[in-house]
């Protein structure tokens, strides 16, 4: 494994651990561990599990002497990022509409701004992961 690839992988895993711990602590910091907090934590756990699987696969590839990234993986990331960006925009818009039409002005409990932020970020992460998984199997590859 090349040193720069190994360092990059370690950096990604390190950052992921920091994010997971941060989100977990933030989740515990909410007034109560409600449904939405649990949903966010579940999404984060899914992301972490997938990241670890991808890390292991990449480590195996790197050990076999193949590059971790090439022009196709770069193109896939661009494509997945583009599609996930638009899907996230519609998700945010949908959340806004649902809140505006059904929830605003009622006594129904809804997410606080902090909870909403975590939900949106987690959903964006999961959307990116799903889109990346789809395009890396040749669905809409450039």
């Amino acid at each position: 494994m090349k040193l720069d690839s190994e360092m990059r992988l370690r950096l990604v895993v390190g950052l992921l651990v920091v994010v997971v711990i941060g989100v977990f602590l933030a989740g515990l910091g909410f007034q109560e561990l409600g449904t939405w907090t649990l949903v966010v934590l579940l999404l984060i756990v899914i992301l972490a599990a997938v990241a670890i699987l991808v890390y292991l696969r990449n480590a195996r590839e790197a050990a076999s002497g193949f590059p971790l990234e090439d022009e196709r993986t770069g193109a896939l990331k661009m494509r997945a990022g583009y599609l996930a960006f638009w899907a996230s925009m519609y998700f945010c818009l949908g959340m806004g509409w649902i809140y505006g039409i059904f929830i605003e002005g009622t006594a129904m409990d809804f997410l606080t701004v902090a909870e909403m932020m975590f939900v949106i970020v987690a959903v964006m992460g999961v959307l990116y992961m799903l889109v990346w998984a789809a395009v890396s199997r040749g669905k809409g590859t450039p």
């Binding site: 590839e61 590059p67 090439d70 022009e71 196709r72 193109a75 040749g138």
Partner: protein, 63 residues
């Protein structure tokens, strides 16, 4: 787009892994190019053609 990569690989007794190593890409990239599900850059097309001792024109079939 179709390619003759598979036939040429067989001619030179190269696996997808061997070809990927020669041109410095991941195995899946060669697989997807062979299946016509990924269009390589001109640079990669040139590298593959060179590795298979042919030209880009003969390697790729533009339908």
């Amino acid at each position: 787009m179709r390619t003759h990569i598979k036939e040429l690989r067989a001619r030179y007794n190269l696996t997808q892994e061997d070809l990927a190593r020669k041109v410095g890409v991941r195995r899946e990239t060669i697989l997807f190019i062979e299946k016509g599900e990924y269009n390589p850059s001109l640079k990669l097309a040139h590298s593959i053609a060179k590795a298979l001792k042919t030209s880009i024109d003969e390697l790729f079939i533009f339908d």
